[in-house]
Symmetry: C3
Subunit: 343 residues, 3 copies
């Protein structure tokens, strides 16, 4: 597992600033219990339980639904060295796996590549999954329950891949259910990693299919690892397209991380299509050991049009022009310092 707690300061334009203690900026704070059993003949069985910890308050698991302790992963699987792995339970969606592998910030903290994964401000996500907590929990851009997964075996010359189907069990997204299907395919070797994935949800609010697509490539030049990736959320006329350009540069007993993330949105109207945003971020991770590190991150989100994205932890913002805390077109600036310890 991991315990990672930091202190974050966020200034949201004219709305002022706030300082808070936040968990999981460098690595998600979590408790993992897992195991593996060799069955002979190249077969093995395994289980994996993974629970988020909010180290600042002691909360564990998901807030919604209540009681979902093993919110990150809860799986049982049987694997063959030649035929691949069959896995059942709750797991990451394939699109997230490709996306986070291209982000030196691992989609975490103030400069992570999920900074525009926001139900209120991203058109495609908001239209597909609405404002209800249960429906937002069903949004499978991170993790999904009731999954049946197949993974390719290793030893295919660097190719990796998976298929996934999830059951809605006659439930709706409003009730936290996801009817989905997707895949991931990639190749890794010689410093290069290229991957693509898609996950399609059929019971999103409103009846349309929600499509989550990602592709990207990373290459390790030795002095730095550069990565370029794009993730698209599509629902009816709405789309939110994240483009990531990032670098991780070894420096002293750690490394420097740089990121540029751009969001292009398209909606039914020109005003909706103007709600773009971008983020620039930088960080340094100072390794005290393999397991323990100090880190410092800085980032800034700039909104176009009426876009109202902000770094989490600042004063609450609204995308509604009539609200007192309307934030459209403003900038959110943040830095954070913290301590991460793996166990």
């Amino acid at each position: 597992g991991t315990m990672d707690v930091g202190v974050r300061h966020v200034k949201n334009g004219s709305l002022g600033s706030n300082t808070s203690e936040i968990s999981g900026n460098n690595t998600t704070s979590k408790l993992i219990i897992r195991g593996n059993e060799e069955l002979g003949n190249g077969l093995s069985a395994g289980f994996y339980l993974d629970a988020t910890i909010l180290g600042d308050t002691g909360q564990a698991g998901a807030a919604t639904p209540a009681g979902q302790l093993w919110d990150r992963r809860s799986t049982v699987s049987v694997a063959s060295k030649t035929l691949g792995e069959l896995r059942l339970g709750r797991d990451w969606v394939p699109t997230h796996l490709v996306w986070t592998s291209m982000d030196p910030f691992s989609t975490l903290g103030i400069a992570g590549a999920n900074s525009f994964r926001n139900f209120a401000a991203s058109r495609a996500l908001g239209q597909a999954f609405g404002a209800l907590p249960d429906a937002q929990q069903a949004n499978p851009t991170l993790r999904v329950s009731n999954a049946i997964e197949y993974f390719l075996p290793s030893g295919l010359g660097g190719f990796y891949g998976q298929l996934v189907v999830t059951l809605d069990e006659r439930g709706t997204t409003a009730a936290g259910s996801t009817k989905g299907r997707g895949f991931r395919l990639g190749w890794a070797g010689k410093g290069l990693d290229v991957g693509a994935a898609q996950f399609t949800t059929s019971n999103a609010t409103g009846g349309e299919n929600f499509k989550d697509q990602v592709y990207g490539a990373g290459y390790d030049f030795g002095f730095a690892r550069l990565s370029l990736a794009q993730r698209r959320w599509v629902f009816g006329p709405d789309r939110s397209v994240n483009t990531l350009l990032a670098a991780q540069i070894p420096a002293g007993p750690g490394f420097v991380k740089l990121t540029y993330l751009r969001l292009d949105q398209k909606g039914a109207t020109a005003a909706q299509s103007a709600n773009d945003a971008h983020l620039i971020g930088a960080g340094y991770v100072y390794n005290l050991s393999k397991r323990t590190a100090l880190y410092a991150h800085a980032s800034r989100i700039s909104n176009d049009g009426a876009a109202s994205f902000a770094v989490a932890g600042g004063p609450a913002v609204s995308g509604n022009p009539a609200a007192a805390n309307y934030f459209g077109g403003q900038r959110s600036t943040a830095y954070e310092l913290g301590l991460r310890h793996d166990f």
Copy 2:
């Protein structure tokens, strides 16, 4: 602990069918933390914490009451080799221990002997504990909180037994409290296991005593273990009597399981007394190792009169003739496939 996840398909008569991913069909998915300390002079102390896991979604513990993580068992005890064991906390009720020992399906999955343990459709349970989640949680046909238990020592020539008292703490069943008392007594040896148990609840809804009684016998003939048991739930004029005839037959690297379960209900009116049902079930467990198995189960529930029992996981059913999904007298057919891994 255990992780057990399977895929289940249920067809509920005219209401259609549903496919879902379900946890704990062969063995309950759970996390156990326990320990024992030798104190000398034949004395020992121990603790036992046992939490349900819903492997398909990552939920842990009970849904009601919220926060009851160690919902299966939470006990501390001191034991003497000659005098027996004193145990305090939350534990199984004695009636369940006898009942599940007679069921090759361990009361789990689509063919388990608790298939008629249903508050809406079983008269005695429904009348005693009503429809409130807290009261249903207080229903002690499975587990009970605030228990003070005494267990006979081993080494009594095969006899085993226990006494249990539970405190309601001035609470009502509607608030999740149980005032109960019960016992278990049996003998095991030479392939035979006979047992009987009773647990009586004094603060059930409506003021009457709720009685849970079970007795049964199992014998291992070598080619098969056969068992015959009966469990009676009695509350005022209402009674629900479960009769179980089951067999477990070694076959190849596993065993075949067969079960026949019949429910006889008696209520204040002839119509209520006609609401009987029966279940037939079969399964095969294929052991990949001592810890890991694949399993396949099939079962069918047939309802008489207006009885509306159904295998869990299918379309929702109602016992109300005015409801659109009225299910009285129909059949529920199911099969499931899954993977179980102990750790």
Copy 3:
């Protein structure tokens, strides 16, 4: 961790008595996961996760807020042998650490020194934090979230100390947030332990500062350890002052514990100032081993004026003269027996 479950009987004056099963009377039932890593050069890193268990029902963590599993402690830290320790997360407040170190009952059970820590009956606490569960959870007389702490290193000739700041993150106490600052300072050696601490909350309900102050001394005379301590809760014109005189006396394979706790209250009116109370308590802990013990406690709370303090676990009491269960000025008498097992 620990499992500690006992049976308690409480008689609340004219309101009658109640028997219940209660967890954590000698030592809090809990599950701890922690670790430490040597980093070299006298540096180390560590984490600490600590979750309450209610052994009688299987509940884990805090009831409010829901999902706060690691309610007792959730921290990550980096420490230097010469410079001290920096710690982030949820932790004990410094005042509690001094207070509990002076109490042979460790503030637990029917005779613990927190018996007058009651929101309904203590004026200062009630006025500062009100009746909302979230605000009461924010009351930092026990533990506090979002803490940034500095601890003095050991090796300062017996001196120990800490500084703590907690962030409210723009939240109010009503929403469970605490804006606080405090310290602890003491000296221990040669059988003597003297300590003082203060924790001030700036966003308590009503806008005033809430002050929690404690000082005390304990000395081990060999035949007994005696301690004398005082804890003051101050909010505007209201103050609740706890004075503790206690002894722990080795006797046979365990020890006797004696306590006298007095509460002096002062409010805006003479009637409020008359609501004092005191508790006398005694107990014996019989050690079966280093890890396991049986214990028996007895105590009595006597109320003056309209004070309505009672031992937890009895019939519900009210401080409202118009209520049917008005308890002002009455006595609460209790005893408890239990089993504690550390693991």
